[in-house]
């Protein structure tokens, strides 16, 4: 569904992506793991067009999207969330999600009809928020929401674009452990056709929710495989899991 060919990116002398070749089939839950600074967020930025790669190509459902602007990639079916909340602080969750729905439906250019005329879009936004249990706060200003609710809204915004591939950058970053489990349960409950790639540092969560794992270190993909394969991989144990095991 989503694939890349020889993706490369460096910041000055720092190599953050080196010959990245991905192949994510439809409907699989991927975890992307790797130490801090490994280049995970950078990879998402490259895939979604926030950063331009120095070299390489990106394909979504067989179509090359490397030259598309970020919003065009979203319309093609590639959505993402942000490691650090990137929300509309002064808008309500309902308004925020409605923007995405209206944009997807091609109504966002409409400046002559009032919002209530777009009942279906508002209803859809409400339904999406209800699914993520945000309906009770959908009329509050986003900045007043609890942090965990804001993390959920991050996901709601991405889902409102009806993606085929969803990239989640540490969806549970900063969320207490019990809430984190709830959040990942919500992610696990998403449509089975959706391809999901999530970045996560908590190995319990990774091994519980990922069907496959990609390990990134120093801008390279070190290993890719099922949780069992990755756990047994000697290089991974040495470079990454081993370190964590020692720290624990």
């Amino acid at each position: 569904m989503l694939s890349t060919k020889d993706l490369n990116k460096r910041f000055g002398s720092l190599v953050v992506a080196q010959d990245i070749a991905l192949e994510l089939p439809a409907g699989v839950r991927y975890a992307l793991i790797g130490p801090n600074g490994a280049g995970k967020t950078t990879l998402i930025n490259l895939l979604t067009g926030l950063l331009a790669p120095d070299a390489g190509q990106i394909f979504l459902a067989g179509r090359e999207i490397s030259a598309l602007r970020p919003e065009a990639r979203v319309r093609a079916g590639l959505a993402r969330t942000f490691q650090i909340n990137t929300l509309f602080a002064g808008l309500t969750p309902l308004e925020s999600v409605a923007i995405a729905v209206l944009e997807r439906e091609g109504h966002a250019h409409n400046w002559w009809r009032a919002l209530p005329a777009f009942g279906a879009a508002i209803e859809e936004a409400h339904g999406l928020l209800a699914k993520l249990r945000l309906a009770p706060v959908e009329h509050r200003a986003t900045r007043e929401l609890a942090y965990g609710q804001q993390r959920l809204l991050e996901i709601a915004l991405a889902l409102a674009t009806r993606p085929r591939v969803l990239l989640l950058d540490e969806p549970a970053a900063g969320v207490p452990q019990d809430e984190s489990a709830e959040l990942f349960a919500a992610i696990a409950g998403l449509s089975q056709e959706l391809t999901v790639l999530f970045i996560e540092h908590d190995m319990n969560v990774v091994f519980r929710f990922a069907e496959r794992i990609i390990v990134m270190v120093g801008g390279r993909i070190l290993a890719e495989g099922t949780p069992g394969e990755v756990a047994r991989d000697a290089r991974v144990r040495e470079v990454y899991l081993g370190k964590h095991a020692r720290a624990a």
Partner: protein, 307 residues
């Protein structure tokens, strides 16, 4: 329209009977309010800070002036053509403007404004330069002459303000208006939910230029004069002050700001005109300190408190 709004617009008719000797001022207020409303669309709703918005006002003013000088003095046609001309200028410049934010944006709008003002100054064969455009004669509006008391002028300005206000009101309550608020709140998130922010910004910038151009044309037609002042930095700065004073992003902010500012300036002018900007400065400091959301923001906070 809510009762309070209806009452407000009904009250705008009061000058005809209560202060008939101030209709010329009332007309200026309506024109400035329209200009501030156009700035509100880009600044208050889309977050584009401009220090050169007079470029579009002045472009509309000169277009209307040149048209009437060359015997196309019918005001409604002139108004529409001037608004379109300003809109075209807005559309062209928007391609540059929307790529920038923050300080760069302020410098850019300031630069474009100064550029146009200086161009108009140099092209004296066309604009009359520092002497202003000579020979502007506005034909009667639908049979009504522009009288000395300003009755026609105020009726005309008020009608255009009201119509374009309704348009602005539509815009901000539409999906497009919601998308603009999204851009203002978080420009970085918009592309990530599939929104072509730059296209939205170009569109609202063009619409705002049309409205500013209409305001400029109204000034030309109701006063039968055009001078370089319509393009000046002072005019850009004044309208910004007016909007901040009234409350940006509140639809009525520009109108309320224009009323307060213009009436106050008129009162001061009869006393100590040279101190006007001293008081403006003081007012600005006071607004920023005590009413960060403008007069309307302060009023709505008062109104909400008892709940």
């Amino acid at each position: 329209m809510r009762p309070l709004e209806a009452a407000f617009w009904a009250a705008t008719l009061l000058p005809f009977v209560v202060t008939p000797s101030y209709l010329a001022l009332a007309s200026q207020v309506a024109i400035t309010a329209l200009f501030a409303l156009s700035l509100d669309l880009i600044l208050g709703y889309a977050g584009i800070v401009s220090l050169g918005h007079a470029a579009y006002f002045g472009f509309g003013a000169y277009t209307a002036g040149l048209l009437s000088k060359h015997d196309f003095g019918e005001p409604l046609t002139g108004l529409v053509l001037a608004a379109i001309a300003a809109g075209l200028l807005g559309y062209v410049t928007s391609h540059l403007i929307v790529r920038f934010r923050h300080l760069a944006l302020i410098m850019l709008t300031l630069g474009l404004g100064l550029l146009l003002a200086e161009a108009a100054n140099s092209a004296s064969w066309l604009t009359g330069g520092a002497d202003g455009l000579q020979g502007v004669k506005t034909a009667p509006l639908l049979g009504f002459k522009f009288d000395l008391y300003g009755r026609t002028a105020y009726a005309y300005s008020l009608a255009v303000l009201f119509l374009l206000f309704l348009v602005a009101r539509r815009i901000i309550h539409s999906p497009f208006g919601l998308a603009l608020r999204g851009i203002r709140e978080n420009a970085r998130r918009m592309p990530a939910i599939g929104a072509p922010s730059l296209a939205h910004l170009r569109k609202v910038y063009t619409i705002a230029a049309v409205m500013a151009g209409a305001a400029g044309a109204l000034l030309t037609q109701t006063t039968s004069t055009v001078s370089l002042e319509v393009l000046s930095f002072g005019r850009s700065a004044d309208v910004l002050v007016i909007l901040i004073l009234g409350g940006a992003g509140r639809l009525y902010g520009g109108i309320v700001g224009a009323i307060i500012y213009m009436v106050a300036r008129d009162q001061f002018a009869s006393m100590n005109p040279q101190y006007w900007y001293f008081w403006v400065g003081l007012l600005l400091v006071a607004v920023v300190l005590f009413l960060p959301n403008g007069v309307l923001g302060g009023l709505s906070a008062l109104y909400k408190r008892p709940e």
